[in-house]
Symmetry: C2
Subunit: 250 residues, 2 copies
């Protein structure tokens, strides 16, 4: 048996989610916390990797019930592990799954959210939580971004929207929705797909800001997709605006 849990973290003070020697990682602090709870070496498995500065509202992870350890009821595990976690990480909504379940292979979809703070002045409360983008995006810019986003929805080869040199079997993905909403000074992008290529959301958001700025026309998006050429898409938006928001299973 294994425990499946949701995971929330502020990515600012982590060198990404995946464990690496000599730096602070989300996986590193989780391994330590579960090892302390179960009294035996534990290693967590995560649904995905995120880069330094990227956040998670509800990522997922599993940890195997260690051999011979006293099982903790799943609903009590988040409170049990909480005192062993640093204040920028939280585990919640635990349940038990059998050994055939895999937290990464069994994912059928994910949702990412990206926040842009579109204002003249940096808001201290938005620091490290949104991309500060001072160039005004007006209603016409918003409409252009939505028109461009519509071309990205559906099944496409997203090679042009992937960081170069990323090894993957296929660059085809199906985007279920790609929404752009404005709430005050915040622009909120929500992207749901069966899977995402490396930096795909950040390149999409960067490209959409170039659409808003008039440097790329919405109608150029199909040609950019067809080119499979990273150089034709827009810039990569910075990590601090990106949140892994939900992970879906069957």
């Amino acid at each position: 048996m294994k425990y499946l849990m949701k995971l929330r973290y502020v990515g600012t003070d982590f060198c990404g989610s995946q464990i690496q020697p000599n730096v602070r990682t989300v996986q590193g602090v989780l391994n330590q916390a579960f090892t302390a709870v179960f009294g035996t070496v534990c290693r967590v498995t995560s649904c995905s990797r995120t880069d330094s500065g990227v956040h998670a509202n509800a990522a997922t992870l599993t940890v195997e019930l260690p051999d011979g350890s006293v099982p903790i009821p799943a609903e009590k595990l988040p409170l049990a592990v909480s005192p062993h976690l640093p204040p920028d990480v939280m585990v919640f909504d635990a349940c038990l799954r059998d050994d055939t379940f895999h937290v990464r292979h069994d994912v059928v979809g994910k949702e990412y959210v990206y926040l842009i703070h579109n204002a003249c002045l940096r808001d201290p409360f938005m620091r490290d939580r949104a991309w500060f983008y001072p160039r005004r995006i007006d209603d016409a810019g918003l409409a252009a971004m939505r028109a461009a986003a519509a071309h990205l929805v559906g099944k496409h080869d997203f090679a042009a929207f992937m960081a170069q040199g990323s090894p993957v079997a296929t660059t085809e993905r199906t985007v279920r929705y790609l929404r752009v909403e404005r709430a005050g000074d915040l622009l909120r992008f929500s992207a749901c797909a069966d899977g995402f290529l490396y930096n795909m959301v950040r390149i999409i958001v960067g490209t959409l800001t170039e659409v808003a700025a008039g440097r790329i026309a919405p109608d150029e998006i199909p040609g950019i997709l067809a080119s499979r050429d990273r150089a034709r898409a827009g810039m990569t938006a910075p990590p601090e605006g990106l949140y892994l928001n939900a992970v879906f299973y069957e």
Copy 2:
């Protein structure tokens, strides 16, 4: 002439707002920033002092136009000072006032907001931004807090709701409203008064949580006010949930 401006800051990494030697204060970084902008020593005057960890959404400050310096148009001052400010402080909405105006003496009212994060688990995104209060406040508790809050609205002697040893001419204040709202896991208190005693909002919020917990009955509030006895009111809520939200002038 002097510039009147609004001020926003995350209080977490400051030893309060008022300048003190050898520690990082809001006033200290503002003095440095305006001195850099005007090229001559500037000292700001603030609407009030806040403690370590307390935040401001829209405090106010003034800075005198230095003798002989080139005047900067008020609407350009926030952008001019922005590069000289650290990322946890922002100045906005500047205008000019004549020398008879005083940013502290002329205040006719202030609004504070206090946030409680009422959940079982600490949310990393609420860290240092709300009081983590795990004991569940249900609808009955909320109703009791509102009944107690109603007794605090109006003109009263708030000596029982002031940190002991605070030197003030009078402990009488007029509370215009004291609202308690719930939004998901957040409880939001909004308090508006002609002025506040030292720690008054934090003692009111601490007292209201004791009302929610059933340790103080709403009907005891008038007696606590009449006693003028700090020991009869509730605990002082911690600083991280408190925001100076607005400052009013004629």
